[in-house]
Symmetry: C2
Subunit: 313 residues, 2 copies
């Protein structure tokens, strides 16, 4: 893995499927390249918004390999590798490290609930030991609204003490600023990079030592989010934050993942992008229209996306 | 798959691991054979109590193959095959059908929460269509305390209407008799087999058209549970139920999975059985002692287990 830490705006890249639900590597590569050219510092492929847990281990490996084959820079990648099974997590993490990825975003094993901090410590510890590679950089993934099982302060303390290099940071998708603030206050100064899981907390995060954000909406609005990341000390930072919030609110007013795909489909002029794997369902026609209409009212656009797809097709 | 429906007492077989957390096929086969010889009608391998979601797809396939290689009858098997990823569920289900298993126990995809009934319908429907085998028998697995995502009455109605043969029944591990009763009243008469997820509801279930039970404790107490299954219309049925409840209470007083393994380890005289994969942790020594002491006070035993292991070793 690259020794340069990945910071800034990362997109949990939405995964395109064909109508038969098979992953579409070509569209995936196109979207990743568009994101990197339009403000994303990095690609948090195989996150929650990527429907990563709806993919098999082999499907994730094949998609990552397709990015590498298309010369997408692995030092700008932070693939999600945390699974319920230790052996799956190790396999995906090893593959990412060997590919030269900047880091990996790691969910805790999320099937069993009410597990102990000791059990979670053993899980992450075992992954570090088995991968056994000095290049490994793990970003712990806290998303209790979905995974239910979360990352606690005590767990981070124990892991950092034992693996100060391998444990590189976390993504906090609790949606709770008080939680993010607690982790920032406790760990940011030690070089542990904390990414809020939404650009709604980008400015507040940066003002308190945050490393950027890893946000669903960076799939559709990367340039504006990156602008605030670079200009957070400018006088109009709060106004920029408000404009980001408005786009996020319009996009996420129904269900986020099908909405992101709807927005990409619309601006790419490529309806197959609306496909989601079960158990998710696409937006209704009325919902889709409302999202696009609301975004248009805000003057929202995805410049170059249609051209990127037309050129590739 | 066998056309004879599997009914009676099924054990969600605990999965033995070596100290390095690798699955131990030999001990697994021994325990499965002991269970079938001591009251279990069937083996619900790869259930929640089997730590199935802590195993990779390949690990589950290898363990099932090791049972087949040891001449364990597939018409007495109901392996768990429901994963977060549709492609994993299809792969495991196809393997089970081709092996001749009586049925499969299928969790809904459990990563995304608050998913729609339509999304879950599409998931199960897609599995049936892709497997495309008339022998397929699916038992829907409802365990909201762990999976959070559950099986609703409306979902069963839609699936049964479209796939009256493939949708064969369900396991209800809600721990809520009112829920089990609702499903029994709605579907038991139509030949949809409902298994409560605990022998605590065995008698009540049988009195209301239930098909038996699929219960954690059937790993350690199969003969007594099977006795009540066969004798539920006898005058001492309620007393038998009370005795089963006492064993279950003693066993599950801390955390069920490590406790089951502790009990097997004790009666097999084989300490490696206590190993659990992270994020689970074994019982403390004091907890282990309390469980065994309480079971002994009840006159509990696992006859033939030590011999089965000694013979094989």
């Amino acid at each position: 893995m690259a020794q340069q830490r990945l910071r800034g705006v990362l997109s949990p890249v939405v995964t395109p499927f064909r109508k038969d639900y098979s992953p579409d590597a070509q569209r995936f590569v196109r979207h990743c390249k568009w994101l990197l050219a339009h403000g994303c510092s990095g690609l948090a492929v195989f996150g929650t918004n990527s429907e990563a847990n709806s993919l098999s281990v082999n499907e994730r490996i094949a998609l990552l390999d397709s990015l590498l084959a298309a010369d997408v820079d692995p030092s700008r990648m932070m693939p999600g590798t945390g699974c319920c099974a230790l052996t799956d997590t190790v396999r995906l993490t090893e593959h990412a490290v060997k590919a030269g990825c900047a880091g990996v975003l790691m969910l805790p094993p999320f099937y069993y609930k009410d597990v102990s901090e000791e059990g979670l410590y053993r899980n992450f510890s075992e992954v570090v030991e088995r991968v056994g590679d000095a290049r490994l950089r793990i970003y712990l993934y806290h998303i209790p609204p979905v995974a239910v099982v979360g990352i606690t302060k005590g767990l981070v303390e124990r892991l950092l003490k034992k693996y100060p290099t391998a444990i590189a940071g976390m993504k906090d998708s609790s949606g709770d600023w008080n939680n993010t603030r607690t982790f920032l206050d406790a760990f940011a100064k030690s070089g542990f990079d904390i990414f809020p899981g939404s650009e709604s907390f980008l400015l507040a995060g940066l003002r308190n030592g945050g490393a950027g954000c890893i946000s669903a909406t960076a799939n559709v609005n990367p340039a504006a989010i990156d602008k605030l990341y670079r200009e957070w000390q400018k006088p109009d930072a709060d106004q920029q934050q408000e404009a980001l919030n408005a786009v996020r609110k319009a996009t996420g007013q129904y269900v986020m993942i099908p909405a992101l795909k709807q927005v990409v489909a619309h601006y790419a002029g490529d309806p197959v992008w609306t496909t989601v794997r079960p158990p998710l369902t696409e937006l209704t026609a009325a919902q889709a229209k409302k999202v696009i209409d609301d975004l248009k009212k805000l003057g929202f656009d995805m410049p170059g996306l249609a051209e990127a797809h037309a050129k590739a097709a």
